[in-house]
Symmetry: C2
Subunit: 733 residues, 2 copies
């Protein structure tokens, strides 16, 4: 259909001046104009007043999974969705979820100190006074334990830290380690501690990284006060997230045995998080070597590594129960393509009051849904089906999203176009990360959003910040690791996913503490909900575009470009490791390392490592070349000129294309993670590893496995390329 | 003379196995063997027991310039030299030296706090109990003042820090600034503060850089305790060191007016150093913006920049007097070339007890002198004259060395071969820095010295450490900035100079405090005087080699190589500045910097800077090429084959060659510094700037001056090259 000129001019006059008349991927020019107008109407339908009201209400009581607050939250949200006309249901799952029964941490030598592990009420923070029904400071999925041992400070508790300790002649076997938060996802720390023979693990928030070193502490400022602690899951989510007892299956049965010993992802040693207030006496009592310079934090003392003379007793017991996780699922049926689903979600459970995490994102999703319902009242309907999702149990283990997606895996893989995730938002610069297939789509969504503070395009502001920081001024989405509800969609099911938020300004330090409250949020994070509003505008715009597009804006060329970059990285990584291994081996063998060490301090010379062989990257290089060709073929297809039948056939192919990037066998030792392009790192946790099968084999110096993974990954990329090229060729015929 | 084989074999059997039979620059092969044997005898003559006895004695009372302790120290040292047979005299100068009369620092708002500015006695440190006759915590050559003002925290107090403050909208005019020690010589801080309009300056030791952040504090460990403070000079020694009232002249007149207003180098605003114990309440009371992340130190508080609400009152009054500075000068006359002088010195004054700084170096010098006197007892005499020097008044302003060398400038420029300096020593790796002409000489001295801990060559150990740290494994001396007594010799008179010490292990944090004591030294710095012994061995070896060499081991090719490197650096610096200026100007003009800033925080957009022009480096490039040719010509001269007459004539030329690198007019705005290759940086202080006329003009964006300085520097380098080439050509004729 072509719009005549007169109508165009007429449109031009009707629309406000700032209306984008720019192309939108997936839309014919005239549909793009209609879409732009619709987005304006959507923006106008949003009401900032709702944010304050909902945030106040939903953050007024603890609402972690399994709590009465969680149920009430789910019911409130479901009620709203229903009121707005959505087909709404609450789907409940029964994953294993431990809550603390006994938490005891005491130093027994050289003096006694009993850790408080409580967060006191603070002036001006109303909910911090509530001590009924909330979750105390603990790490979920720590195993039960009653251990006593000398303390060793292990810096961030990563493999390199233990290598450094070994060089200093320090062995953590039979010891309790104390690690600081940071540099990896917290669950990595007890995993690596256990691998090294420790019998217990404490994780503290160091004030340099997360306290007065960052800014004034709460309530004077936004940052973590001395007794503030970071709760959080320590389950080994790098194996699989969700219910530890039902990997790959929805945990629908409420009558199973909640036995943690049957769970692969529960920690092997007891773990507890502590505040820097509680950490200070322990660290002060440590003796032994002074910690290396870059291990020292912000406490007013000299950091030592131990072991001892500080000796601690850690006793942890948990109620191991199946907890009901209530997911809210709300559908607006598509008018033309009801079997294509646009998924949009945020979790609703918080560690306690959870104003910032997750509610600032949840209320944006709610307002998006309400905004769309306002459009619907005027007769509008999306072409494709929109599904809003409010997840329960994200905090402990992405429980609600994982169980739901595992249960509905087949239909999701058939129908889902994309999953759009948020997990709270802050103030500042736009971040959109996820599937490369949605690169152009994401940049256009950012382009068409106005930054509320500077009134320029959110994309322009973010590019200005990149340029000001001396970085390349090109927008692209970065791949996702883990840490929020996109995980099962992206890495297990191969559904194109995005995660987005604003941040970089108005920072705070109350993450996973009782001080993540309404009062804190409106003082420090996003005082007038400008960025919650921007999040709703962005989320709504993305949902609308995916739901209304003439054709799905999924690209293969951005994926091809990204994969080539990652391939170059792993090749360079191998070369760098080869050079450095050789250099280090030389320094070991020729005596330089020994000579450079202070003879008055213990230095255990490390063994030379196997030299890094040259790997056969050719299969991967050929696969990437193949992908370039296929992506180029798809680019050549003029979508605007396809017959309806060919359009549909191409759409059906592209919608499921990213699933071709899954390998059925999954990654080595963690089959749940099936995407060959990215996964959360086995030793980073949230942090993404691209081409993970290959990269982690190289990092772990498993040369045989690296060769195998190159071949497997290449084969999967080729099958994706074949799929793309065949779809393009069918369309072009 | 050729030694016959039988004699050689005989020698070989007499000498211990480790005797170096390696070439020594300046020596014929047979003289090298004699020299090696002599060095062995010298080593055997050294007695470690003296170190403990002398250190204990000399550090038992305060001995700063003008004190009874200083006089007693000079007399003791002179007495020893005399006893060992040296022609010894004490030369006394009368420089301006202020001592405190009133020291008051109090916070007057928002609460009251009076700074302690006292270092309490500590357990196990005998001299820390002595409070009679010692110098309290103060900065010498601060002007008198009585000021009250709001406090502003200025990080390290360097020009870039004030630029950052201006961007934050903070003006220090009329304010009192508080800067932390580090990142520059301390005297730069009040200078830059005054340039920016501040009315007073406090300098504190931050515990991250200099306190518990480095290690356990004294007396548990070696590091600076909460009330420990760093005394030190703040005179503007980048203009000229020595007596502020007699630049370029020896301060021999004791009857002049001690008026600080006639001194260019006294600070413009009052300055006082404080401990972190005293700084903590002040910094805690500061409000305003949170300091940038890299401005935050190790105190357990959030660093703010102010201004205010902390308001302080600083009142300083000094006794402005001429103090007697007693230099000890001890000569051993040369047997063959008495008019060629080898100078070897260390200062004897300390801020208080000064065990590490300077006595650990002073006792090495004394033992060197005693060792040589033992050789002399056996009939040995050096070919050239050896002059041992024990300087007074180094701490306040290099007073003793500067005044002495200014007074004796003419004869020094005629007779001095080289000045060898130490200023204390620690444990660890060898450091030798100074004139490039002594590059090979230095590396051979290090090569032939055994590291006492590892029993390998000190050179090998130092190279191993460089390789282990991933640095280039090539020994060369680095050029000298300032901070010790070599300054007048190197930068004012153009006499080849070296400064050496050991360090990198057994660190401490009592620099310029009352805790720099015998007890501290033997616990933490060099417990068994192994490295004081190594220093004496090295110093003695260097003196012996210079005194006995068949010809002076002065090179021009190492200087040529170094100058080429520095030229490349300044050219690259200009290019980098050009690119960065252009980039920054773009970010300012296109709005990126403004857009990247948090709108809720003040951000004053800086003005674009003048773009960096292309400079004409050709004169310098030609001069450096000319120098290469000249140095190559000198290398071709076979010194072993010259007639005595030619040898002498070449020696006379080379001895004064480095003086050809002086420019009579000196550096811009500081004519006292005359060496065109290096000077202490105008905004770094101790830190060296190579090709300083050119480099500093570029850094300060004075393009016209940079062009002039390129021409001047090139002309001076050419005159040096001409001198070298003409000497080489005369010898070769």
């Amino acid at each position: 259909m072509r719009t005549n000129l007169a109508l165009l001019l007429c449109w031009g006059m009707l629309l406000p001046a700032q209306t984008p008349s720019r192309p939108i991927a997936g839309f014919q020019p005239d549909s793009a104009r209609t879409e732009a107008e619709l987005e304006q109407r959507f923006d106008h339908a949003l009401n900032r007043g709702n944010f304050q009201q909902w945030l106040k209400l939903l953050s007024s009581r603890p609402h972690h999974v399994g709590s009465p607050g969680s149920r009430a939250t789910a019911e409130f949200i479901a009620g709203q969705f229903k009121k707005w006309g959505y087909e709404t249901q609450i789907e409940t799952f029964y994953p294993l979820f431990p809550t603390p029964k006994t938490r005891l941490l005491e130093m027994v030598a050289p003096e006694r100190y009993t850790a408080k592990i409580e967060e006191p009420p603070v002036e001006g923070d109303e909910t911090s006074r509530i001590k009924d029904g909330n979750l105390p400071v603990y790490n979920a999925y720590s195993i039960d334990g009653d251990v006593t041992g000398e303390l060793v400070y292990v810096n961030y508790g990563l493999p390199d830290d233990y290598r450094k300790l070994r060089e200093m002649g320090i062995d953590v076997r039979g010891k309790i380690v104390i690690a600081r938060y940071g540099a990896s996802w917290r669950g990595i720390k007890p995993k690596v501690a256990a691998e090294n023979g420790a019998i217990g693990c404490l994780i503290f928030s160091d004030p340099r990284d997360d306290g007065y070193g960052q800014g004034d502490v709460y309530p004077k400022g936004a940052f973590r006060p001395p007794q503030g602690a970071q709760r959080g899951s320590v389950m080994d989510m790098t194996l699989y997230p969700g219910d530890p007892l039902t990997p790959g299956q929805g945990a629908t049965d409420s009558n199973r045995s909640p036995d943690p010993r049957q769970a692969q992802t529960v920690t092997r040693i007891p773990v507890m998080p502590i505040s820097y207030g509680d950490a200070e006496p322990l660290l002060r009592a440590l003796g032994g070597r002074v910690a290396p310079a870059d291990w020292r934090g912000g406490l007013p003392l000299t950091y030592h590594v131990g072991p001892g003379p500080a000796k601690v007793h850690l006793k942890l017991e948990f109620n191991w129960k199946l907890a009901p996780a209530h997911d809210v699922v709300a559908r607006m049926r598509g008018s033309e393509k009801p079997d294509e689903w646009i998924l949009r979600g945020n979790h609703h459970d918080g560690w306690n009051f959870g104003a910032h995490d997750p509610l600032s994102g949840m209320i944006a999703v709610m307002e998006e849904a309400r905004g769309l319902s306002e459009l619907a009242k005027t007769g509008w309907r999306p072409k494709r089906t929109i599904v809003f999702l409010a997840w329960d149990g994200e905090e402990p283990a992405l429980l609600g999203s994982t169980e739901w997606a595992e249960k509905h895996a087949d239909e999701l893989q058939r129908h889902a176009v994309a999953y759009l995730n948020t997990d709270g938002t802050g103030r500042g610069f736009i971040n959109i990360n996820g599937s490369s297939e949605l690169d152009l789509f994401s940049s256009q969504a950012a382009r068409d959003l106005t930054d509320p503070q500077t009134h320029v395009s959110a994309l322009d502001r973010s590019l200005a910040a990149r340029r000001a920081a001396g970085r390349e001024a090109e927008f692209h989405v970065d791949p996702l690791g883990s840490g929020s509800d996109y995980t099962v969609f992206q890495h297990h099911l191969g559904i194109p996913s995005l995660d987005f938020s604003f941040g970089g300004e108005g920072r705070g330090g109350v993450y996973h503490s009782e001080y993540d409250s309404y009062d804190h949020f409106v003082r420090f994070i996003d005082p007038d909900f400008q960025y919650v509003m921007a999040t709703a505008q962005l989320g709504g715009r993305m949902v609308l575009r995916l739901a209304n597009a003439d054709w799905l804006p999924l690209q293969a060329n951005s994926t091809a470009k990204a994969v080539r970059g990652w391939m170059n990285e792993v090749m360079k990584l191998t070369d760098t490791m080869r050079t450095e291994t050789h250099k280090k081996n030389e320094l070991i063998r020729n005596g330089d390392l020994k000579l450079a060490a202070d003879p008055r301090l213990t230095f255990i010379l490390p063994e030379p490592k196997e030299e890094v062989p040259y790997l056969n990257f050719a299969p991967l290089q050929n696969a990437v070349a193949r992908l370039d060709t296929a992506a180029a073929a798809l680019e050549k297809v003029d979508r605007s000129k396809l017959t309806a039948e060919k359009q549909k056939s191409l759409e059906d192919a592209l919608r499921v294309a990213e699933q071709k990037l899954l390998r059925n066998e999954g990654l080595p030792r963690r089959p749940w993670f099936r995407h060959v392009l990215h996964a959360p790192g086995f030793y980073t946790g949230y942090g993404v590893k691209t081409l993970p099968g290959i990269r982690e084999a190289i990092e772990e110096r498993q040369w045989k496995e690296a060769g195998e993974q190159i071949a497997y990954t290449a084969a999967v990329i080729i099958s994706y390329a074949d799929w793309i090229e065949s779809a393009a060729s069918n369309a072009g015929r």
